[in-house]
Symmetry: C2
Subunit: 296 residues, 2 copies
């Protein structure tokens, strides 16, 4: 392991814990009424996940020179949106998945009706957290997150995914779907971190945009590779689902080798976006490596 | 009919149409990809509903002297949240209702998975609309709406409702449930309208708070009365559901006569909150009468 890998691992551990604590504080306590709903919300969010989106927010804040404390709300908000999407995605009418982060998914543990409300309430809480900071650019953050979440973002991508199951997608159509489904929130995570500062330079936003577009796509290609190659225990969620559901993936479209080559290209492109920066971009570089090295 | 009733009816018609047009503009066009999701979102929101929440936003804006145009985003946002809650509430895992506003409910028309995404995307759009105004107090509006929507608001109330079906609730417990389930969004509708102004006096907020607390409760008691007495065609949704589902209601708890007496008391109290105001409170008075007169 190189020195920079070790440093990034330390940084990631510190900031994963930071995100976990911020999430634990942002979520209502399990003894606040309605208790069962709050317990289910905490169950769905806490104690699992790599917190890649939160790390992106913290790393983007570093890039623009904002302290981690200013990016806590951004980190919390993007993780809450991600958690809500997982809860709804796992429900019987969607992907019908019983396992999430190595434990029963929310609807298996609390029932479908509560899971539906958990997702709804987590989404609302995400916007509440951003708005309550009253930070200089909080309204821009709300705008970006709402767009990334809605019908021209994550929800839209899930709908395209639903409509195209069992169909053979072209590579362009697959890329569009993932830009909505995963890419939009990855991009929002980075931008929200940058807008945690009191002022943000347009140039920083443009570079983060490029970086996160590559990362969003890489993240999805890696997910497809892992779904085809790793086992359920390693993943903490059901493996081999894509093939079973006859979904078009980068693996089904390109084969494993070409999919891996694509990840390498996307990794290199993401580093190029950061070429003009010094150490303040090291955490973003580390995240790129972390995302792209998973299947190798 | 009195002159003030006729004037209010005219005002209500104008502002219902205004809300309808604002909603139609805020929702993505049905030919914007993903088309099916956007068509389903428009289906769930447009062409129906009394738009009571939008009217409250416009009327509260009038109270504080803000033009209707400044309250469009508030009116849209509260109606989108309300529509999202109806879509999710009608789903098989919740109330399992096939009929809404006189037509098949969203999941009957588009399937459960799309209905789930429709609700999620409508919620995100509500916050996007508020944030995009970039109005002076938009961040406060986001905060209020998020809190009213989430686990200590509407979603929390629905969870309490789920947990208490088949149980005999005390009147206090019933009131708490409805304060969350219906009252929170009614209150938010009024406050968002008041915060559409560039500046809002604390005194106006306090009076609107009292007014809307009475109105929220009255609205629910009236709903319970109508569910027990009106037929499905009149309601545009399934009638007699509460008794069928063994839900505690104001009618089951108090009987029809006492429930009607309660509506009258709440109506009088809501007028008292507005006693210090002249004609700028007339629309709020009209809404109170409109809500409270429905079952008589």
């Amino acid at each position: 392991m190189t020195t920079s890998s070790i440093l990034f691992e330390q940084w990631a551990t510190v900031h994963q814990q930071r995100a976990e604590q911020a999430l634990a504080s942002a979520l209502p306590a399990a003894d606040t009424p309605p208790q069962r709903l709050h317990a289910a919300m905490r169950y769905a969010v806490l104690g699992g996940g790599k917190r890649v989106r939160a790390l992106l927010s913290y790393a983007a804040a570093e890039l623009v020179g904002a302290p981690a404390s200013s990016a806590d709300a951004a980190a919390v908000a993007v993780e809450l949106i991600h958690a809500f999407s997982l809860v709804h995605d796992d429900m019987p009418c969607m992907d019908d998945d019983d396992l999430r982060r190595g434990k029963p998914s929310c609807h298996k543990q609390y029932g479908d009706a509560t899971a539906l409300l958990v997702g709804d309430a987590l989404q609302a809480l995400a916007f509440q957290c951003l708005a309550e900071t009253a930070a200089a650019q909080a309204l821009t953050q709300v705008q970006i997150l709402a767009q990334a979440t809605g019908s021209r973002g994550m929800c839209g991508g899930q709908d395209i995914d639903l409509q195209s199951t069992g169909q053979l997608l072209t590579r362009d159509a697959l890329e569009t779907m993932h830009q909505y489904k995963t890419g939009a929130l990855i991009r929002a995570a980075a931008l929200l971190g940058a807008y945690a500062a009191d002022h943000t330079q347009e140039q920083h936003i443009q570079l983060l945009d490029q970086y996160s577009q590559n990362m969003g796509l890489a993240f999805q290609v890696v997910d497809d590779i892992l779904d085809a190659t790793a086992d359920t225990q390693t993943l903490g969620k059901t493996a081999g689902k894509d093939a079973l559901q006859e979904k078009s993936t980068y693996v089904s479209l390109l084969g494993i080798d070409e999919a891996k080559a694509l990840v390498k290209t996307l990794y290199e492109q993401s580093l190029q976006s950061l070429a003009g920066f010094g150490p303040q971009a090291d955490s973003l570089r580390g995240i790129a490596r972390f995302i792209c090295e998973r299947p190798f």
